[in-house]
Symmetry: C2
Subunit: 350 residues, 2 copies
Amino acid sequence: MTDPGFALDCPVPRTGYDRIVMAHGGGGRLSADLLQKVFLPAYGNKILSQLEDQATLDWEGGRLAFTTDAFVVRPIFFPGGDIGKLAINGTVNDLAVGGARPLYISAAFILEEGLPIEDLERIVASMRDACRAAKVVLVTGDTKVVDQGKGDKVFIATSGIGVVPDGVTLSIRGARPGDRIVLSGTIGDHGMAILSQREGIELESTLESDTAPLGELAQNALRACPSIRLMRDPTRGGLASTLNELAQASGVGVRIEEERIPLRPEVKGACEILGLDPLYIANEGKLVAVVPDKDSDRLVETLRAHPLGRNAVVIGEILADGPGIVRAKSRIGGERIVSLLAGEPLPRIC
Amino acid sequence: MTDPGFALDCPVPRTGYDRIVMAHGGGGRLSADLLQKVFLPAYGNKILSQLEDQATLDWEGGRLAFTTDAFVVRPIFFPGGDIGKLAINGTVNDLAVGGARPLYISAAFILEEGLPIEDLERIVASMRDACRAAKVVLVTGDTKVVDQGKGDKVFIATSGIGVVPDGVTLSIRGARPGDRIVLSGTIGDHGMAILSQREGIELESTLESDTAPLGELAQNALRACPSIRLMRDPTRGGLASTLNELAQASGVGVRIEEERIPLRPEVKGACEILGLDPLYIANEGKLVAVVPDKDSDRLVETLRAHPLGRNAVVIGEILADGPGIVRAKSRIGGERIVSLLAGEPLPRIC
């Protein structure tokens, strides 16, 4: 959206394309057309509409959080969302778990030649709604087109900027023995929604992605419990990967109780049929926090008071024993080691 | 690089992969492997090495510039650079032409399964060198992998943050009749270097991309001539598109003299053989500035004092006549209209 060749003030001929062609990425008249007919009507705001090569933002000072993510999810539309909603929420959440208040978003689109314009419009509208819900503003962007067969419909890379309130110093290295691990809700919803859509698996009830913006939930948590050591959103690799990561970075042991972890019956059922472990399935709207024991009940209460944290619970604790190791106490009482897998069992889930 | 599943402190087994596999994008052990063996050795800095989901940056206040670009250039290695160098310089330049001092960069990689790790390492090293040359720091990133045949080796989306010095208010709407148009050097080098590489065209001498970081050149220009109305880097769509864009946005006419525009003999020759107009060919290290007449000589001198502006010249002027129209006086005296094309004549040049 901020490339040379975008011509805001010239009359745009109605070209009547219903699919993306290479020239939509060429920086000329068709790029301007796409900008004016698809992107600006959706995202138009005072900053983006300047159409400069960069957005200029007033900044009051203080610390700034900066993050980026590429989204390559397949299929691009799935129950509960689409690649656009995922891209906005994913970037918002990477800011949120750092304790930052998300403010500004950039979006770079890589479109495959032949993509129906209608699909692009649907994604763009969904991103607009996601920005509104997360209270962020999309201020700059870019669009490229690749030849048919050299991409996969649409990839989106989003970056985000947020402000970190004074006093917030979360760190993946901050977990201490005795701390509690709090989870904001059910796990595996996003990954299983994608899988069921992709593989055409029929489930008894519709399973939806949990994609949601965690900015407000995270800010509420930090205000109520400034003692929080760290927060993460367990996306690719699932809760298991997040727990392994913090165990290794903090040099501590982690023990969770499986029966405490909230699980939708349909996710549980689908995982059993497919032989998948929900601990490794991706989430896109869940928060994990490590907090001193004395504040864990207050944190759970605070999370439960927000619609995105209704099922919040303490799922385990941080131990001095077994640094870098994650153990899960099973429903029948045994204990197993929850290791870091080579990769996510379901590729391209985000 | 800032995703769950990256395990900084755990011993990383030598997996011995020499090509990208899907699990390198899965957020598990192989993602951590890629991060530790490829990305961190190249970009390692205090902020990135925190491995949080977001980079946290101190900020003194003032205005902040924010930009993003996706890079899909084909081939990924070309004379004078590669997709990585292009990605860093392109984002640096979008900040620079807004008058900002580029500071921080994010990079999101979309890798195609099967990409040789060696190619990735070469690109990553080139980005590291480009960051150093541009005096920017890569502080956050992400890596995704798509199935073979669903991407094209590697796509990179970079975003950048810079600080806008007090008093700088450049705008694409700022050109006024009587102003001069200054160009920092030869045109068409990047596009023709890509084309010659792609199509295997033999040229008498090696033609190289002009990809370069314009931050210092732009800051020098602004310090010497605070009266500069606007700056742009004429990338996709070439100089013609940049001039059309500013003519339309500022509601002014533009007249350039073709014989003043610096052109390498090999670019001129190749354009003549192929029937291409160099005005439409992409540049990746050139700056166009519009400046009041009285300051144009000083601007040219200032640009010429910098290695990237050695061939700077006044190429034309801003007119009240013919708002939105770009005219070129040809070498033999006639005048033609330089219109905005539908797209870039050479797809995927950046």
